[in-house]
Symmetry: C2
Subunit: 204 residues, 2 copies
């Protein structure tokens, strides 16, 4: 099966997210790690979580005889939802993943209002929703529950700080174990945080 | 919010699925109806179900100064999953939608093996999974549970018929009510079929 995590497309979705292909020269990006992890989950029948294709507004397509249609003009569209969703132990999983080069904080400018709106809907309807934050320099990746993100988002909208301190992410979020096969084993945190103690999941 | 069901993109995803923009001159396609229905579900806080963007393999992108990146060469990729998924009453919903001009049967050639594989995974992990089949000429749309689809798929793989008879779809599937706002109100069938009697949903 062809998954949207093929290097090529992944390079371009990275490009779509960040406006540049970051870290292509210093190992795997968060997206690559997540795609590999999701592939591991899939092949080991643990969960079915896919990255959504990059939304593209197609303007012009050519149809050469005896060969595949060629898109000649298209533009990157802003996604209306988060990038990843799927199914784990009967639960709907929905998350966004962002990495920052900042050391001290995660800039909320990485998130868009419509993504927050979507995440609120997911939580409201009983899905498991979170943000994966990677601090690239320390190569630490945290799971930050959507419900916590909302409060910082509101603070920002009310004139508060436009970022979440690294210390806050570390304290209120959950560090994700790095494993050889599941490079960002976020489901381990889900098991611990949502499945065991119910966490802040809606209706639990 | 911009949803992937904007007419333009929808026209092209239709094109991607069928190789041609069908019925553009005879009213709404099944995809348009589903997108409108999902929009209705969303705005009325009933469910969060989106169509996935059309997977595109991007080969060449231009970056003009002071304007948006332009994709200059790209190709349609075969989707690795179904087209629609989301969250309804805490349940993971996953489905594919196909329309046929045939009167007597639904050709299984509309479905790909990797989609069947994906649907089996969804069912196995406790998601609600089905196929929406529209017979364009009669304008009837049916919900056909994935578990039933699997059996006909196996029959085909074992040399059986390569389509599902209209009468079978009508008998074993569930006709979807046409409503003014929710044009293909498939969640009405889900309520009746999965939520009430448990249906064939895995683990119910």
């Amino acid at each position: 099966m062809q998954y949207p995590n093929g290097r090529k497309s992944s390079a371009f979705t990275k490009l779509n997210h960040t406006g540049q292909t970051v870290y292509s020269n210093r190992g795997m990006s968060l997206e690559d790690d997540i795609n590999d992890t999701n592939q591991y989950y899939l092949t080991h029948d643990i969960a079915i979580i896919h990255k959504k294709p990059t939304p593209v507004q197609i303007v012009h397509v050519d149809y050469p005889k005896r060969s595949a249609a060629v898109i000649k003009e298209a533009y990157f569209k802003q996604a209306s939802t988060t990038d990843y969703n799927g199914l784990y132990k009967g639960e709907h999983i929905d998350f966004e993943a962002k990495e920052t080069k900042n050391k001290q904080s995660f800039p909320l400018s990485n998130i868009h209002q419509h993504q927050i709106d979507h995440m609120k809907q997911i939580v409201h309807h009983g899905g498991i929703c979170f943000l994966l934050i990677r601090f690239s320099l320390s190569q630490e990746t945290f799971l930050f529950p959507a419900e916590m993100l909302f409060s910082y988002w509101e603070q920002q909208n009310n004139g508060g700080r436009k970022s979440i301190r690294y210390e806050t992410v570390k304290k209120r979020g959950y560090i994700i174990p790095i494993r050889y096969q599941a490079k960002v084993d976020y489901l381990a945190v889900i098991d611990q945080y949502y499945m065991e103690n119910g966490g802040t999941k809606n209706g639990r």
